[in-house]
């Protein structure tokens, strides 16, 4: 049996979700691919769990759940960058939240992992939105994989779908609902005729919106994902600053009522061709008119025609599905 060693960087919501799915699917991977997925390190901002023979995931989750990862017997005061550099592994899973202005700490994590000869799978969109071509170029030069399926659309497998199945197509346009929080708010305003603040408060109470929802509401989160789609699928060379961004903050419940009366919904749409994120009117029967926290991505291509993918844009297990889409690519290719 071949062994695939993993370093998990970031053991927050996504990191724990990936660990849970690993526990659920480990046996499947062993039986189908003869590959054992071994987590040799879990890095947090203040130290690292290390075990070259493979960490006990259940126990790591248990300690993390109590917020006492530091008390775990495998805990060492090793910084994440040192762990990435020095610990022997095949794949670094970079699952930290990113700072959109600097891309850190993910940018350094990804660069260090690739420089030290390790494949990278990430759910962190900020480093890719800032340095997409630099990072993909570095991976290519090193002959390594940089998987970033989980950065856009949660569980929707848009990046790998295009790479594996649609490459022959020229993509003319991409429109997407790429932020679950703003879609939940607009849906709530549309269906229940409530003001944005009320809908946002409910989203926060349900744990859909973060305590600081600024990036969701002002369109930044959508713009960051749009950059990744534009660069990876439409072969553009753009970064976040090239996108014209208008959020949903000024959208009134009156405007939604008017839209409904005339057969439209209002959705926050990322538009790759016009490099724009803005609230748009879409007909009620349009494939992009998805409700709640759902995401949807619509591609117009020259051969396949129009394709629309709909799925959960967030959630730890759903995002882990996309992380595993990239991990399995590496598992399949490893002799």
């Amino acid at each position: 049996m071949k062994t695939i060693k993993l370093i998990v960087v970031g053991f927050g919501t996504i990191g724990k979700g990936v660990a849970e799915v690993l526990l659920m699917k480990r046996k499947y991977v062993e039986e189908k691919y003869g590959a054992s997925l071994l987590v040799v390190a879990v890095c947090e901002y203040n130290g690292t769990l290390v075990n070259p023979e493979g960490l006990d995931i259940d126990s790591a989750l248990e300690y993390a759940q109590k917020g006492k990862l530091k008390d775990h017997p495998d805990w060492k005061p090793i910084k994440s960058l040192d762990a990435i550099k020095e610990i022997d592994a095949d794949i670094v899973l970079e699952l930290t939240p990113g700072d959109i202005k600097t891309g850190e700490p993910g940018l350094s994590h990804i660069t260090t992992a690739l420089e030290s000869g390790k494949n990278v799978v990430t759910s962190n969109k900020s480093p890719l939105a800032i340095k997409f071509h630099e990072l993909t170029g570095l991976a290519k030069r090193k002959g390594l994989v940089l998987g970033y399926e989980a950065t856009v659309g949660g569980a929707i497998p848009i990046i790998n779908l295009y790479r594996d199945n649609l490459e022959i197509n020229k993509v003319n346009s991409i429109y997407g609902i790429l932020n679950g929080t703003s879609n939940f708010i607009l849906t709530k305003m549309f269906e229940e005729d409530v003001a944005l603040d009320t809908a946002l408060k409910e989203a926060q109470e349900l744990g859909i919106a973060e305590r600081d929802p600024t990036y969701d509401i002002n369109g930044v989160d959508t713009a960051v994902k749009l950059v990744i789609l534009a660069n990876s699928i439409m072969d553009k060379r753009i970064s976040y600053k090239d996108i014209c961004v208008t959020g949903i903050k000024e959208v009134t419940s009156d405007s939604l009522e008017l839209a409904k009366k005339h057969g439209y919904a209002i959705k926050l749409i990322g538009d790759v061709v016009n490099m724009e994120v803005s609230p748009r009117l879409i007909p009620l029967n349009h494939p992009l008119n998805v409700s709640g926290t759902l995401n949807a991505i619509m591609l117009d291509t020259d051969i396949a025609g129009t394709l629309t993918l709909v799925g959960h844009g967030a959630g730890k297990i759903q995002t882990a599905s996309s992380v595993f889409s990239d991990i399995m690519d590496i598992v399949r290719s490893k002799k």
Binding site: S255, I266, D271, S278
Partner: protein
């Protein structure tokens, strides 16, 4: 219905006959033809004719364009005719107080505002306005630009259709 069409054709022998062919060929009953040579090498031809319906007019227009004859203007029963590409959009802001007549007039220079619905909760609260405009499809991008410029200038949020 009575159609007035202004065509712009190159000033070479046979072009006028070519231009009139599609009109009669698709059921147009020609009432009058006048032409002027005000510009060098270009003849402006005003054709008045009658057709039974809009689809006949479309056939004539498409046939002319296929022959590279520029259709500069079409009037149906004296009113400007559009290809009826419709654009719906919502404006949020102090739309009424920011000279709504000016907003409509500027849009009408490119297209035609054909519908308008306003929700204005109170004078000090931003109003929401849904507008529908009809536009010759060739001028669609221009209309988007005009509306976007108005919104930047008057501080409106523009929500346009996809």
């Amino acid at each position: 219905m009575k159609i007035d069409m202004i065509l712009r054709v190159r000033d070479v022998p046979g072009m006028l006959i070519n231009a009139l062919g599609p009109v009669s060929g698709h059921g147009g009953n020609i009432i009058s033809v006048t032409h002027s040579r005000a510009e060098k090498d270009i003849v402006s031809v005003h054709v008045s004719f009658k057709v039974n319906d809009e689809s006949s007019l479309e056939l004539i227009k498409n046939a002319l364009e296929a022959q590279k004859i520029r259709v500069a203007e079409i009037k149906v029963e004296g009113r400007k005719y559009y290809l009826k590409k419709a654009l719906s959009f919502v404006l949020i802001g102090h739309v009424i107080d920011s000279d709504i007549q000016d907003t409509i007039d500027r849009i009408n220079k490119v297209g035609l505002v054909s519908g308008l619905e306003v929700v204005m909760p109170s004078p000090d609260v931003k109003s929401s306005v849904l507008m529908e405009a009809e536009i010759d499809e060739k001028h669609y991008t221009k209309l988007i630009k005009v509306v976007s410029d108005i919104c930047s200038e008057k501080d409106f949020l523009l929500i346009r259709s996809l």
